[in-house]
Symmetry: C2
C-alpha cells in the first residue's frame, strides 16, 4: 500500500515557519537537496491544507509538476483553477484512506496544521520525516498541532545533515 | 565560567509530560542512565521552577543530595523548609547570571516552562540537551514555552539511544 508521509524542516522547538511565515532560518545544503530529491522521487501525490495551498499560490507555486497529482482539503474554498489539482470538501481521513488503496507512489502531506492533525487522528499517516534545524524560533507555525491523540513511533533513521541539522525519520505505529 | 544546562526527555512533538503529568512513555535504559549520570556528575546546582518544585515535593523528591544546592524561583511562595534549598524571589535571569560568575560546577534547569523561558530570554542558558522519545503526546507540558525570542544553536552531539530515543545536544549561541 502507498505510504503517506508527513514532515519537513522544523526548528528544535517544533515550528515549520516563524510567526509571520519566516523561512530565513532554513539551511539549504547538498545534503538536504539529496533528501528532498529522494522524497520527491518516491511520491506522486501532494496533499495540501487550505492555508499551505493559498501560501503556495501567493508565491506562484500553486501548481504541481507533470505526473504529480495535487489535492487541496478545504470546506471554505469553492473551486480551484489549477490543472492537476483537485478540491476535496469531504472528510480528509476517509478520502486519504481510499486513495491509499489505489495504486500509486507515496503521498506527501503539505500542511503545518489542521490537515496533518486530521490525518494523524484518522490513522492514515505512515511516516514522519523531520529535518530539525539548530534554532529556537519561539513562535510560529507548529509542526504538530496540539490536541491530537497519543501516537507511538518507531525511529528508522537518525543522521546529521550539513549545517547542524538532524534528519529524523519515524514509522508511525498503527 | 560554569554552564547552565536545560533539557530532559521529551516527545517528538516537544512535550516533557502529558496533559496530566503522565510520564509513562519514558524509556529507562542503561544508555539513558549513563547520560543522566554524566549530567549529574558535572553539576552541583539545580534551578527549579515553582511548579516543578511543588511536583517534586509532592512525590517526596523535594530535597537535594548532599553537595548539591537547590534554588526555587517563585514570586508566590513565601518560604521553603527543605535544607540546601533556597527560595529566590528576585529576577531569575539576573540571579542566575550572578551565580554563573561564582566558582562551581554546572547548573541544571529543572523546569518545563516559564523559568526556562525567562532564562533563555536573559541569555544565561548555555546548553540544551534533549532525549527525544519516539512518541507524539498531542498535548502536555511543553519543553519550550511559546513566545521566547529567536535563539541560534550549534549542534554538538546527535546520537541514537536505546529504545528508539535520540540524544541531541546543542550549544546556545549568545
Amino acid at each position: 500500500m502507498r505510504k503517506v508521509v508527513y514532515g519537513g524542516a522544523c526548528s528544535l522547538d517544533g515550528f515549520m515557519a516563524g510567526p509571520n511565515g519566516e523561512l530565513d532560518w532554513l539551511v539549504f545544503s547538498k545534503d538536504v537537496q539529496k533528501e528532498m530529491a529522494r522524497t520527491w522521487a518516491s511520491s506522486d501525490t501532494l496533499l495540501f491544507g487550505r492555508r499551505t495551498w493559498e501560501g503556495a499560490v501567493a508565491q506562484g507555486g500553486g501548481s504541481t509538476t507533470p505526473g504529480v497529482k495535487g489535492y487541496v482539503f478545504s470546506r471554505t474554498l469553492t473551486s480551484i483553477a489549477e490543472p492537476g489539482v483537485e478540491l476535496i470538501r469531504d472528510d480528509a481521513g476517509t478520502f486519504v484512506h481510499a486513495l491509499k488503496l489505489q495504486p500509486g507512489k507515496d503521498m506527501v502531506v503539505m500542511s503545518g496544521g489542521n490537515l496533518a492533525r486530521s490525518l494523524f487522528d484518522a490513522g492514515v499517516i505512515d511516516e514522519i520525516g523531520l529535518n530539525v534545524h539548530p534554532v529556537l524560533l519561539g513562535s510560529g507555525v507548529p509542526a504538530f498541532v496540539s490536541g491530537a491523540r497519543r501516537t507511538q513511533l518507531e525511529l528508522t533513521e537518525c543522521r546529521k545533515l550539513d549545517g547542524g541539522c538532524v534528519l529524523l525519520i519515524y514509522k508511525v505505529k498503527h
